[in-house]
Amino acid sequence: MSALSDLIIFSVIISVVGIAVFYLYYKVSASKEAMEDMAKAGGYDDTGSFFRDKLAGISRPASWSAFLLDDAKSIGIRYIFTSLLFFFVAGSFGVLMRISLTDPNPTIITPIQYNILFTQHGTLMIYMWAVGISLGLGYYLLPTLIKVERDTSGTWSSIAYWIYSIGGLLFLVSRSSFRWYAYPPLTYQLQPFGAGAGAWLGILALEFIFIGMTIASIVILKIIFLDRSRDIPLSRMSIFAWSIVFTLVMLISSAPPLMVGLGMVFYSFFNPVFFTASSNTVLMYTVLFWFWGHPIVYIAVLPFFGLMYEMMPKYTGTKVYSYVSAVSALGLLMILSELVWGHHLFNSGLGVTWDLFFSTTSFIVVIPSAITVFNYIGTLWTAEKIRMTTPMMFIINGILDFILGGITGVMQANVGFNEIVHGSYWITGHFHFIFLGVTTGVAFAAFYVLFPTLTNGRTYNERLAKWHFYLTAFGSFLMSIAWTIGGFIGMPRAVAGYFASYQPYQDTAIIGGVILGIGQLVFLYNIAASWYKAPSVDTDNIIEKEHPEMPQPGSMAGGE
């Protein structure tokens, strides 16, 4: 291409972007003026607090104005749709990675491209999808569930949202290939065979994401503890609110070590004194990382346990089997999450003593997990009739996948067994069971439940939603089980190729992954098509509307 054609393309892009930006600016400033007038008419000087007071606790449909308003529900809408967007981006990366593995040798994409897709898929899915949708549902549902009395700190939430989103975008732009660990010294190699030329931007982007998440966490904790309605004591607070509390306490307490670690990594781009083999041990970074890296796994799951407790009784017609055990199991998971991080480093040389400690604590995680599962089963058991709607099917599939992923997880807690499956597809299968079944599935369930509210009274297409469920559940099961079996036999993960003897497992996983991808296309089509229909139902949803009184302190034993 000549310089002239480059120049022409550049000018066209600049013009189109410029027109789009000007149009947006025009729309935004017009809306802002209108909103300021409304606030003035309402007797407020500050537009933000006028709308926060006006909209507090009212169920809100999704609209573009969510980006101008900063009441908790608007912030929630922003997070929900941003995380859905990143889910589609990272998910399509995942499907492309699967398809590229049709041949044992990397033929469709190069190993460097594979590494970039791998890093982007993992990091964006965890930080931008799992954490994003948790924060979004927290912001969106909590004002109703705990009947907030005042909605302040909207500016902080808005700032946190933008920092977080820009962080996600910058991470995508960085095209880094250091996986989600950013382990030095690989991260220091700013070239395609190492961490990618933009890895420094990736580290900065991660810091952005962390700062955004931390600010948002502090604001939500403040909403729960200080702005809650006086009528709702902690002992009767919704289980979802409790799960969000535990999640955010985990986030705030474990994020700082990695934020510091990433800062040291960033400094080392200028002067590599940290985590280099000659100065201090590389293992130190892995400790800093996994002190955060294990809690984030629970952060991505706990809110969805809470949501399952929140939604399940609406379809069974019973109360949650045991409120106290549900909350205490989630609390125990929070405490244990900080004590088990060493099981990611069984093969890294922490020593037998520490290995035994972390192995023991990892086995103890079975107790709260089993309490949670039996609580779900108890809730289902006491039901006269279970309405098998799409959200309920996602929830039941989530329980199944959590049992499968949980059992594979317990097996890994054994130091000897861990030696065998370490770095194999077994691990991938284990956490995809849980992330696809619990995190993603329950997030979809919540999205379907909230659909009439978000779309101002439209219903999703039940048939397409069922297809979405079956394709997602079957595809994710096929993919994860193929990985688990193949990994047990020794198929190494995180590489762009594989030995031809693993062909059957890879092929099965590819079929599963493609089915999963098609399911999400159905989902996207369903959103677009159903939203275009005429409003047909009222805008209430079962999570917010039919919220039951939690049991009184006297009758906490549950079990109706």
């Binding site: 070239q191 781009f269 002067n271």
Partner: protein, 202 residues
């Protein structure tokens, strides 16, 4: 019609962003410009051990600030050992004394301030003459002379043993800002007289 195109807009945004993300990520640079060692033209190899000490190069290890003798087209590996825990660099310029412009063989970041750490940088002279090597942090004490005499003409000599590829890998360095992409262009011709092995800019 009913009119709410919010979902359609969302789907369109998703499709656009996913496509752009695909195109952008898949167009990531695929190679670092690393030339295989077999393509470098040099006549022989030479490894020079240096101890970086603020009192002078090789202070306490034989002659302080030794005069180094090389021939042209000789692949020189400088193995610099941090001896005193202070920051040092290794730079080279043509002429008998220090100048304002020079080639950086090893940066302050590479010679970490850890006593005993060995960092390696590679260099090759293509023109005979007198050169100066020094440390930009301690230019008064750590300065010495390099005398380059004409050597054999270049013929493609393969490196001794395939394992020596790591020697070339080690030579890749950050540029002065640390943030740029590592340039692995071996034998980058900046000046017709001198080729630089680690891609350092003048």
């Amino acid at each position: 019609m009913y009119g709410n195109k919010g979902g359609i807009a969302f789907a369109v945004i998703v499709i656009i962003i996913v496509s752009v993300a695909f195109a952008f990520v898949l167009s990531a640079p695929q190679q670092a410009g690393l030339k295989p060692p077999s393509l470098i033209n040099y006549s022989s190899t030479n490894t020079t051990q240096l101890w970086a000490n603020a009192n002078g190069w090789n202070f306490g290890h034989g002659t302080t600030n030794p005069t180094l003798n090389y021939t042209t087209n000789e692949l020189i590996t400088f193995a610099v050992t941090e001896a005193d825990g202070l920051p040092h660099t290794l730079v080279i310029a043509p002429g008998p004394k220090e100048t304002g412009s020079y080639w950086t063989v090893l940066t302050q970041s590479q010679i970490t301030q850890t006593i005993g750490h060995v960092s390696q940088g590679q260099f090759m002279f293509t023109q005979p003459g007198t050169y100066t090597y020094w440390c930009t942090v301690h230019p008064a004490t750590m300065v010495g002379t390099i005398i380059v005499t004409p050597g054999n003409s270049t013929s493609s000599v393969s490196l001794p043993g395939s394992s020596s590829q790591s020697a070339i890998h080690v030579s890749g360095v950050f540029d002065n800002h640390g943030l740029g992409q590592i340039n692995y262009d071996i034998v980058q011709t900046i000046n017709p007289s001198i080729s630089l092995l680690n891609g350092e800019k003048l």
